[in-house]
């Protein structure tokens, strides 16, 4: 899937401005961003549901705006809102979608795959939020998709359900499907994705593999007493720590053995506990916060300059 210079407008409001990125077959690409960042608008254009004001989009070599019918038979979609009639039964619904796509997918097997066999005769309205998400995923799989757009696939799903969904999505990508995942759940995205595209303010602020986005942003994150003397710690270690929670601290530096020894030694000397210690690449959540904060700062600086 190739998105080039995409712009989406709603009247006078520009929701997406000159966005470009791609998603490859056999990979899971996470599209992340705060609410209103332009993720859903972009994905809806890729699905052929919404028209672009400018730019080009190619999905499986087709233009979704003009080839939506042809594209839809090769595309699986999971809507955040569900999109299932409340009185529709689980197995009936999956069977219906298998017939709509006509790809020969086995409805009962799909229901089993997402772990809903015991609920096969239940209606959508009787399912829990997590079960509704799993049914919604089964409907996307009914397409035997070559490209799949999955919106918040693990929202409201319990721990075991999440593991099942991750396994299914990974399996989909391993079979050669280009999976595009829109989510707010960064931990899930971190476990699943090959590539990350971060939206903010209608623009792409980062696009790359997790390793690329983390490069040059190692950190040491630890928990200790809530009242550490950070000035004294800086004198002892030569690096500045910042307090990010009541008892949580972060040092933006690579976890070199000497520094780790200095840090733990200082804590021991001062009689402080070390209740948690993680060192290495930034978590996706930190990458996300850093990039969106940088953009907010730039926007603020721009605003100051303008005023």
């Amino acid at each position: 899937m190739e998105v080039t210079g995409l712009t989406v407008r709603y009247g006078d409001l520009t929701a997406v401005a000159d966005v470009s990125f791609s998603a490859a077959a056999g990979e899971v690409t996470a599209v992340l961003g705060p609410n209103g960042a332009g993720k859903t608008s972009t994905i809806e254009v890729c699905e052929g549901y919404r028209r672009a004001a400018d730019g080009t989009v190619r999905v499986l070599g087709m233009d979704p705006a003009t080839d939506q019918r042809r594209l839809s038979s090769r595309m699986g979609v999971m809507l955040q809102e569900g999109g299932v009639y409340p009185s529709a039964r689980v197995l009936d619904t999956v069977r219906h979608y298998c017939a709509l796509y006509g790809k020969g997918a086995d409805a009962a097997a799909l229901v089993d795959l997402v772990g809903l066999t015991s609920r096969a005769k239940g209606t959508w309205r009787r399912l829990s939020g997590g079960e509704q998400q799993r049914l919604s995923l089964a409907l996307a799989l009914a397409a035997v998709p070559e490209v799949a757009f999955l919106d918040e696939p693990t929202a409201g799903v319990d721990v075991n359900g999440r593991a099942t969904i991750r396994e299914i999505i990974r399996g989909l990508a391993d079979q050669g499907c280009a999976v595009v995942l829109a989510t707010h759940e960064l931990d899930e995205a971190e476990r699943l994705t090959d590539r990350v595209v971060i939206f903010d303010g209608g623009q792409v602020v980062a696009d790359g593999t997790l390793a690329e986005l983390r490069r040059g942003h190692d950190e040491i994150r630890f928990r200790s007493s809530p009242d550490l003397d950070l000035t004294a710690l800086a004198r002892a270690t030569g690096v500045v720590a910042s307090q990010v929670g009541a008892d949580e601290y972060v040092i933006d530096a690579p976890p070199l053995p000497k520094l780790m020894a200095q840090l733990t030694g200082w804590l021991a000397d001062q009689g402080h506990e070390l209740t948690d210690l993680r060192a290495g690449a930034q978590r996706l959540e930190d990458v996300f916060r850093r990039l969106t904060a940088e953009r907010a700062a730039e926007a603020g600086a721009g605003g100051d300059a303008a005023s």
């Binding site: 038979s73 569900g82 529709a88």
Partner: protein
């Protein structure tokens, strides 16, 4: 074809499994027909009330299925993003609309298969019914009511649409010449009632099935106008997603 058949099956399953829809499309028409045929309290101006009621109740059946049932169902499908979801499948809007039309026609056939024998059992004896004209009236009325139902469904939120469809159903039932003759309505209301789709459909059905003795041309023209304008309005105003 497989997608269309599957969609039609789903439409029918959901309609026939829905108790409220069954009450609206079958329960109320049968109850009104039986009750007011047996309890002669309506000013029908006929020897046997069923002779007046039967064509009116058939018009009511068309209105309840093509407008209220279709409109409420489609409105909730829009609110629940069912239409958006279907829009991402190979089904396509033409086949979705075709499935909905077929479903409405199928339910109407079931209604007529129940209502007409019930009317005959209650003593209905149409002198020389013109069934062809009646079928034409039903088709034209179906188009008109479906257009009205879908216009509301395509613009209003699910619950508001539900209230609006039910409210309109009641107004059109009372003013539409279905159970109360136009002649019994006050002057101003009577003129308005004649241009309502329910009034026009009841009028042409009554003429076709009971030979009402009036010239139905004006009612045919009014019904045809509704059958053109209402679907055109629905096509123009309908929003596929909430």
């Amino acid at each position: 074809m497989k997608a269309y058949v599957s969609q039609l099956r789903t439409e029918l399953q959901l309609t026939l499994r829905n108790g409220e829809q069954l009450l609206l499309t079958l329960g109320i028409p049968v109850l009104l027909l039986a009750f007011f045929s047996l309890v002669d309290v309506l000013p029908t101006e006929t020897d046997d009330p069923v002779d007046f009621l039967a064509p009116g109740i058939l018009a009511l059946a068309v209105m309840s299925t093509a407008m209220v049932s279709l409109g409420i169902g489609t409105g909730f499908e829009r609110s629940y993003h069912v239409l958006k979801r279907l829009g991402t499948t190979p089904l396509g809007r033409p086949r979705l609309i075709a499935a909905k039309i077929t479903s409405v026609v199928a339910v109407e056939l079931i209604q007529f298969a129940v209502l007409i024998p019930v009317a005959y059992a209650l003593g209905w004896s149409p002198a020389s019914p013109n069934w062809l004209a009646a079928v034409g009236a039903v088709v034209t009325g179906t188009l008109a009511f479906a257009g009205i139902g879908l216009t509301l469904a395509g613009r209003l939120r699910g619950e508001i649409n539900l209230a609006a469809q039910n409210g309109l159903y009641l107004v059109l039932l009372l003013l539409g010449g279905m159970i109360i003759p136009f002649g019994k309505l006050p002057g101003g209301l009577r003129s308005a009632a004649h241009v309502l789709p329910s009034g026009a459909l009841a009028d042409v059905l009554r003429d076709a099935l009971a030979g009402a003795g009036t010239d139905p041309t004006q009612s045919w023209l009014i019904l045809a106008a509704w059958a053109v304008v209402a679907p055109a309005l629905a096509a123009r105003l309908f929003r596929w997603d909430a």
